[in-house]
Symmetry: none
Subunit: 121 residues, 4 copies
DNA sequence: GTGGTCTAGACCACG
DNA sequence: GTGGTCTAGACCACG
């Protein structure tokens, strides 16, 4: 896994986990990697993973079973989708639309670009 | 002016200036506010405005005349448009598209949302 | 049995046992559950129960007969009462009183709340 | 300031701050010590104070002004009192009452002990 | 084995 | 100056 500079690593890891849950590669109720395992796997300090898990626990995406590990909470798939959708509609899109308007991009163009993206990826 | 938390204040100020230039509220050749004026007007640390001006100067949008002030450079309108477009296509859109795909948003929906935005604003 | 998050599980189990002794549901001299039995019953790691028994053994509430099991020691009822009382007066109460004072709770209120509790339970 | 072993230091610091707010030694809107200042004052690692501030920010007791520092949020006095009272009534007291009943402490005794405490401190 | 806390210290962006 | 992130590593309680 490669980390970008725009965002703290611990949040990028959180996104990575969220996406695995959202796409149901990881199911609700599953145990996630232990702090140590994931830190080794991602070549990152255990503290950084700990921070990710803390963050996701405070958002009730993960929960801890003492002495055993962290688990994906029930309902987290819906919760993540809801949060992401909210951000998308209320924050990301208005920003993009504002710029798009400023640059004179038409709705047609935008949807064509999106269509191309969907084909390529 | 209100500042969002997602972006450094100095960049938000840069955007504010860029947009005034792009929409030709401020013309090429015009003198912009002095650092002190703008920092008072925006209720912001003068250092922050200084950083904005440095930033815009490095992008050749502004230039400085010693002892007089900062001026909007010739050709800056085009330059800003080019920079914004570049960012838009190479950075902003791919990000939005990635999230859109993850959430199952269709091209049609996206263009509809954009159309609504254009009508409303 | 449900475990709270405030306290280690092994201490919550110790409390559970202590209360059974204190209320004389379990008598001095009785054999308690084996580690395996209790761990199954409480759905808990055997190590955890082991820790509980070690703890209670160090307080001379339980003692071990090799190959047979753990037994409730003579005099443990009094001993538990003494320990609990000590903790109550020296640790629990001062803490509660400190918070009570901070929140402006009067002695009258406190005793009323206690009275209600005694009636209800 | 001395730290007990029962609770993480970063939470003890949070309590210390909360109490200063609750008793209005520190007022809403005030700036609190910078991370570095407080860490020096309490002889503690800056990371630990950072953790406290993060914690209090997530509870909306503190908020951050970029480049300036942390401030006590409006309404935090009420919020802290509410949280403390809730915990007191729903968690702390039932526990104390349970033990009190088990030990045969009377409401009268309890209120006397509290009265003594209030006089002494 | 599991997570949780803490220190020491570095480096950085921002105001 | 301010906070924010991260590493390296230790130590500990708990299951």
């Amino acid at each position: 896994m490669e980390f970008s500079k725009n965002q703290p690593i611990y949040l990028q890891i959180a996104d990575y986990i969220s996406e695995n849950i959202l796409t149901e590669k990881w199911k609700e109720g599953d145990r996630v990697y232990s702090v140590r395992e994931l830190s080794m796997k991602l070549q990152v300090n255990p503290n950084t993973v700990m921070r990710t898990y803390n963050h996701l626990q405070s958002e009730k995406v993960l929960h801890n079973q003492r002495g055993i590990g962290y688990f994906i909470s029930e309902g987290s798939t819906d919760k993540i989708r809801k949060i992401k959708k909210d951000n998308f509609v209320k924050i990301d899109l208005p920003e993009i639309f504002k710029t798009g308007k400023l640059l004179g991009v038409s709705p047609r163009e935008l949807s064509d670009l999106y269509q191309n993206y969907l084909k390529e990826v």
